[in-house]
Amino acid sequence: MHRGKGMKFVGDSRVSADRKASQIPKDYSEYPGRTEAFWPNFLLKEWLAGAVFLIGFLCLTLAHPSPLEGMADPTNASYIPLPDWYFLFLYELLKYEFASGDYILIGILGIPGLAFGALLLAPFLDKGPGRRPHQRPIAVIMMLLALTSVIWLTWTSAEHVDWEARAEMNKPIPPSNIEINKDDPGYAVYEANCMGCHGDALQGVSAPPLIGTEHTAEEIAKIAREGINTMPANIFKGTDEELDQLVKFIMSVNEQAE
């Protein structure tokens, strides 16, 4: 069998040597209009588009470091789970009455199963010969409805979330062996005023961790008195002297953490 540069290959004796199988690729020259060679003309354009896309993508990764929260703590009761954004619509769907409780099956199997099943079988549900959207109104309307509801569900779900507070509260704490000095006079003040929300090791519970804080000593003293963000004012109930001890204590733990 002759191929390529005229080499003779030892082939199967039952295949006649001069039978030319469809070795020649389709050239698509039957297409009307201004066709263009894939290699190298069109591929170059594709790759240029790809290069621009890549630059944008790398800018995104540089501008937004990938998030990492604190190490998984199964005993953390105050944590509100939230899936990645592309599962938010399912998460939101399960909040509705008709998709939860006794009707949970509708929520987890019925509606998503119907939607994804229809998507999978679309060619068999929409069998007409016409390809233009106005020739198959039912399929197009169903898709638009599904798309709208997914976008709407995702939006509603994301709207209720205070993303910045979430990120602040779940900052990763370095795996350090910080030892809290419980004999420090500031520790007693901390225990009395802050521990309920900020945790026994300053790791943060319902409030952000105090380890790795970016505030200065003066700012911490001010926040303890006046509050910040969701922290109300006057949580700290002590004398100025105790406040001073507290700030010194928090700063000393932070110095140790560095």
Partner: protein
Amino acid sequence: MSEDKQQVSRRQFLNYTLTGVGGFMAAGILAPMLRMAIDPVLKPSKSGEFVNVGLAVEDITTTPQRIDWKVDQVDGWYESKVGRAAWVYKDENGDIIALSPICKHLGCVVSWEGSEQFPNQFYCPCHDGRYTKDGVNVPNTPPTAPLDTYQQKVENGMLYLGKAVPRKGA
């Protein structure tokens, strides 16, 4: 451009550009990944920290004695205590010598007078490797280099050892 001067055809030019753009994309994707992969090679090696091995200088005799101690080892994200051992003695000048017990042949552990046949020598049981008291390998035994010596210092009468440093062959 006149026809006879044209050395690069349109197709060739496109191919070169294609290679360039492809190379740019590959570099953009792979550069951070390769930098990440070779990071351990480029990290500066930490200078040995000296650790108190729990042996007072006055307890060191002229006979080698084996001491064991622990060092903190940071292996990426994993921190652990790792055991170290050394043979320590004072030479004729009163200088402290701390030898690594790792045989320079194939990494077995040598011991002082480990064989009754060879007194006053370090002996490796694996392949009968031998070293004289100063750690120099005995010719015609398997080891090809003297035992490593630990960096050492003395503080408050206690011996501190650092990294084991290889010596030139005998």
